[in-house]
């Protein structure tokens, strides 16, 4: 391998790439599929149990969301979610438990900077953008729908 100190940027980045550990796409996708599928199935179990006790379908979805968010926060607090994430990748990020994890994990990290500007402000470091873009999109959708309704 060429270890010339006068390498160009391109050569250097090729060199780094050749040394970097190859991430195994097939295996990553399989693990994301498996863990994501399991988390969603747990959600379905919670929803089915709620509906078994006579809860309406829409409320059952609400309960499922609340329970999963609780589980995500709890598993993050006891430092287990990061371990799952290492294996599962997107399988632990994309489900709603990952949203919960994205709130708790920076909050814990910045706790030492105080309860308001440390913990409080950093809770929404990742979840904040999700709400900003999600809610803004929903308002746009609502507005477009309202306009369409005016002319129908």
């Amino acid at each position: 391998m060429n270890s010339n100190v006068n390498m160009s940027n391109q050569e250097y980045s090729d060199f780094v790439d050749s040394k970097a550990k190859k991430s195994n796409l097939g295996k990553n996708i399989f693990m994301a599929f498996l863990v994501g599928g399991i988390i969603c199935s747990i959600g379905q179990v919670i929803s089915d149990i709620a509906m078994h006790y006579g809860v309406q379908k829409q409320d059952a979805t609400c309960i499922t969301t609340i329970v999963l968010i609780f589980l995500g926060a709890f598993l993050t607090a006891i430092n287990l979610y990061a371990k799952i994430g290492k294996v599962a990748g997107a399988g632990s990020i994309v489900p709603i438990t990952g949203f919960s994890n994205s709130i708790v994990s920076p909050a814990i990290e910045f706790k030492t900077e105080g309860y308001i500007l440390g913990l409080g402000a950093n809770m929404f470091k990742v979840a904040g953008p999700v709400l900003v873009y999600g809610i803004t999109t929903s308002v746009i959708v609502g507005f477009v729908y309202w306009i369409i309704k005016l002319f129908m």
């Binding site: 796409l25 990553n28 996708i29 693990m31 994301a32 599929f33 863990v35 994501g36 599928g37 399991i38 988390i39 969603c40 199935s41 959600g43 379905q44 929803s47 979805t61 609400c62 499922t64 969301t65 609340i66 999963l68 968010i69 609780f70 926060a73 709890f74 993050t76 607090a77 006891i78 997107a90 399988g91 990020i93 994309v94 489900p95 709603i96 949203f99 919960s100 994205s102 709130i103 708790v104 909050a107 814990i108 990290e109 706790k111 030492t112 809770m123 979840a127 953008p129 709400l131 873009y133 999600g134 809610i135 999109t137 929903s138 308002v139 959708v141 609502g142 477009v144 729908y145 309202w146």
Partner: protein, 121 residues
């Protein structure tokens, strides 16, 4: 048997949605934060144009548990509220439908961070 097929559908749908996220992470080097934002926005838009609804019908929790399901709630909520109360519904519907998720995320997130000790990595 019916319940087995239903859970298979849930597993498949959830798995596929997460796999799409994994492909995006590996192929485009998008950060998890961007993945979450993209998924919630796409979920909202796909629901509004009538694509995500049938996916939820098919996959149940497999489509509502991923963060794109949060977008599904937002879009459905806003449309329902505009139908019910008109213009004001534009600003009320989305957050109203996702209020349980947002409030529980704030409260459980806060409590969990209070209890947890910062870890030395």
């Amino acid at each position: 048997m019916d319940i087995f097929i239903m859970y298979l559908k849930v597993f498949l749908t959830g798995g596929i949605i997460c796999s799409i996220g994994q492909i995006l992470i590996d192929k485009t080097k998008l950060t998890p934060a961007r993945i979450l934002v993209i998924f919630v926005t796409l979920g909202t838009i796909l629901t509004a144009i009538g694509i995500y609804g049938p996916i939820v019908e098919f996959g149940g929790a497999g489509a509502t548990v991923p963060i794109s399901g949060f977008g599904y709630c937002l879009a459905n909520g806003v449309i329902k509220e505009v139908d019910a109360i008109g213009f004001l519904g534009i600003f009320i519907g989305g957050v109203k439908a996702t209020a349980a998720g947002i409030a529980s995320a704030v409260v459980f997130g806060f409590l969990a961070s209070l209890i947890a000790k910062p870890s030395i990595k």
